[in-house]
Amino acid sequence: MAGFNKVVTSYDEALAGLTDDMTLMVGGFGLCGIPENLIIKMRDLGVKGLTCISNNAGVDDFGLGLLLQKKQISRIYASYVGENALFEQQMLSGELDVILTPQGTLAEKIRAGGAGIPAFFTATGYGTPVADGKETREIDGRHYVLEPSLTADFALIKAWKADTMGNLIFRNTAMNFNPMMATAGKITVVEVEEIVPAGELDPNFIHTPGIYVDRVIKGTFEKRIEQRTVREG
C-alpha cells in the first residue's frame, strides 16, 4: 500500500491485527448489507472472546450465526436477535452476554463514538429496563437517559462501491448501520462489490469519505434474503 491506496487483495491482509478479545462492529440489518466474507474469514481465523456490536446476530448458518456456532462471541450489543436459535441457547446458558439496546440508541451510540462524543441524553428507554443503572436527567420537563457512545477495535462493513482511496457508496437499504460503523472503528475494513480508480466516483454522491476507511477489499456476495416476499407480477 502506498499513499492513500486502501485496497488489499486478500482476506488475511483485510483482517491483519484482529485478535482474541477484541471489540468489533459488524454492519448490516438482518442479513442485508453484512460483510459476509469478512465474517467467514473471522470464523476461519478462530478468534475468540469477541465483543460484537451489530443490530442483529445473523441466522444459524449465515452472518454472525457462523461465529456463534463456534462460540467465538462472548458479548453482543444488538437490538433484535429473534432469528437465531443458537443465540437463544447461548444466551440462556450464560455463555453469551447480551446487551439489548434500542435500535435508534444503538445507531446513535455508534455515530457519537465516531464523532468524538462520549455520551448523549435520549428519551428512548426512560422508565424501562434499558435505563436501569444509568444516569437520568430532566430537561425542559422531559426525562432523558444518559447513553455512553461506542467505539471498536475493528469496524467490518459492507458497501456497494469504493474507489481506491476508500471513498464509499452504499446501495438501497444495505446502507443501514454501515456508515456510522465506518467512523467508529480504530481500523475500518470495507468489503465492496466493485472498486474503481480514484476520481471515478462523483464526489457529490459519496456517502462515506475515505478518511474513515483503512482497508478495502473486493468480495463476491451470496446476499441471502431472509424474508423473500413477492406479489403476483
Partner: protein, 218 residues
Amino acid sequence: MSLTREQIAARIAQELQDGFYVNLGIGIPTLVANYVPEGMEVMLQSENGLLGMGQFPTEEEVDADLINAGKQTVTMATGASLFSSAESFAMIRGGHVDLTVLGAFEVDVSGNIASWMIPGKLIKGMGGAMDLVAGADNIIVTMMHADKKGNSKLLDSCTLPLTGAQCIKKVVTDLAVLEIKDGAFHLLERAPGVSVGEIIEKTAGKLVVPDDVPEMKC
C-alpha cells in the same frame, strides 16, 4: 362482533391524513398500508433506512439490498429516499414522523406500553420500538382487547417491563377505540355489534364511558 385484524387496520387507516409520513410496525400495523383511502398520499417510513416504501416486489424485481424493517423484500415508491440507521432514528426521535402505529402486549391508564419482553420467555429484543414510542407524538397502539383466556390487556398499571412510559394516547382494539387521558381509558367508539357492557367487562383499567358510544365505521 369483534373486529378482524383487517377491520382493525381499516379503522386505523381512517386516522391517516394526506401528506402524512407514517411508520407502521410489524403485524396488524403493516396491514394499514392496504387501506390508505383513495386519492390520499402517505409516505411509509421503514426504520432500516427507507422513506417511501412501496409494495412487495414481483419475482423479477426482488432485490436483496432492498428490505423493510421486517426483513421482507420491498420496492420503493415514487419520491423515496434512502439513508443510514442514525438518520432514520433522527427522523423518529426528532418527532418528524407524523404517525406511528405499533402493537403491544399491554397498555395502561398512564399511557405506559409493554410490547417487547415477557419475563421467563425468550427475549428477542426491542428493535426500534422504544425509539418509536419515545419520539412520536402521535402513536396508535393496536392490540386485542383481551388475551385468549379473556384477561384484559388494558390495565391500571402494566405488569410487564415497559417499552415506554406515559407516551400512548390512543388505542384501537378488536372491540373499541379508546383515548388515554387524565389517568383513564376513555371509550370513543365500539366495534359494530359489540355492547358497551362487554367492553367494560374486558377493560381492567379505569374506564370512562360517555352516555353515547357510537359504532365504528369500518
